[in-house]
């Protein structure tokens, strides 16, 4: 029985790049279950926080623990979807099969897993098409299907719909809900208030590298405790 991945505990996390603090003393604790949305304006440090938690970046100070594991060890039980999906120069199906191959899944088991993953994302009819010729929404759904195929405990999504139209956004959000319903913890970033409304069970509000509020979504949207969060919710541009 592997050790549990949750809770995610972050203490005094700081990340400095080019002499500038991108994250400044962030502390938080996330439990299993709830859909967590990290909300904030562009440049708030949301993507960097996600990358640090996934072990893609090393903190300048502070520490991160997934249960008893450090981020690099915990990474094998997580998947991450990037804002601009990194799709290999191969077919749609080959993109998913590549992940399974890297993870050491036997060749005979790969085909049914690929077929199931594509069907789950509504991409079965595009299996043989070169991945990079898909539309933006299809590309993001492929990236999510690819991240999901290894049945991760945690799925991290960085602004998964930032450049998509409403129909494509709806399809991606439905996919995220389906993945959560199957038992995967969702942690995602967005600067889109509407999306946070639709998807969040809990909200972390980040601005200029500082975590200003961590509340259940209903409470955050009804009565935010932080004045800057209140201004963000009212549509003001935070500078």
């Amino acid at each position: 029985m592997p050790p549990p991945l949750m809770p995610l505990v972050v203490r005094d996390l700081t990340y400095v790049a080019g002499g500038k603090a991108i994250l400044d003393g962030v502390s938080l604790r996330l439990e299993t279950g709830a859909r967590t949305v990290i909300l904030g304006p562009n440049g708030a440090g949301k993507s960097v926080l996600l990358r640090l938690c996934h072990g893609l970046l090393e903190p300048s100070a502070g520490h991160i623990r997934w249960g008893v594991l450090d981020p690099a060890t915990a990474r094998s039980r997580q998947s991450m979807v990037f804002q601009r999906p990194v799709l290999l120069r191969r077919s749609v199906a080959a993109n998913i099969e590549h992940v399974l191959k890297v993870k050491g899944v036997a060749r005979a088991r790969r085909l049914p897993m690929v077929t199931e993953a594509l069907a789950g994302a509504g991409l079965a009819s595009l299996a043989r098409q070169p991945a990079r010729t898909l539309s933006g929404g299809e590309q993001q759904r492929l990236a999510i299907a690819r991240a999901r195929v290894t049945a991760p405990d945690v799925l991290l999504l960085d602004e998964p719909t930032s450049s998509l139209d409403p129909d494509a956004t709806r399809a991606v959000e439905e996919l995220i809900r389906a993945i959560e319903a199957a038992g995967t913890k969702i942690i995602m970033t967005t600067h889109d208030l509407g999306q946070a409304h639709r998807l969040a069970d809990e909200v972390l509000f980040l601005n200029r590298g500082r975590l200003l509020e961590h509340s259940p979504a209903a409470e955050f949207f009804r009565r935010p405790r932080d004045p800057l969060a209140a201004r963000f919710l009212s549509g003001s541009l935070l500078t």
Partner: protein, 234 residues
Amino acid sequence: MAEFPDAFAAALRLVLTLDAGLAEIVGLSLYVSLTAVALASAIALPLGAAVALARFPGRRAVIVLLNALMGLPPVVVGLVVYLMLSRAGPFGELGLLFTPAAMIIAQCLLIVPIIAALTRQAVADLHEEYAEHLKSLDAGPLQRIATLLWDGRFRLSTAVLAGFGRAVAEVGAVLIVGGNILHHTRVMTTAIALETSKGNLALALGLGLVLICIAAGVNAAAAILGDAAHRRYG
């Protein structure tokens, strides 16, 4: 200068009638250069990818060296291989000097740096895009290299074709280690040099025509492949 049109006409006749002597020389040229390219690719593709991905002290110097070796003078490579394979040399017992094998070795050494340096650049560019995804997957070094070589296959095929172009067109190295022996080690470039000096311009021009067609064909293939790949895979 009146002999030029006659020589050109004779050369065309040789090419169009598939003259046996000319075909033998062209065949040996292709055998030597294609074998050299296959061997060099087997060495240079993983080597270039490894240098692109690995971080080690002196890496910068290795990159500069690889780039510098792209301009290796063929006669120097020929001389070094000659010394290695000559009877008094360390590999003299193998008896390879003045055989096609020696020519393959020389051409291989000549183009390994070219293919490796172009591979390093192509893989480094692709890795910039793929690095986070591959790290997220916990892909090991060999898995990373395999992924990047496969996804860079069209750009790398241009590198391989560049190596082939260099190999098939060089004369210095194969002349020194092959000896330009009729029916044994005579290839297009050495034959052109010899036939020109003998005044047999028809055969020299015929071989020159074939060589130009091969070079143009290789370039066209590289361009078509690159365009097709970009349209299909982005």
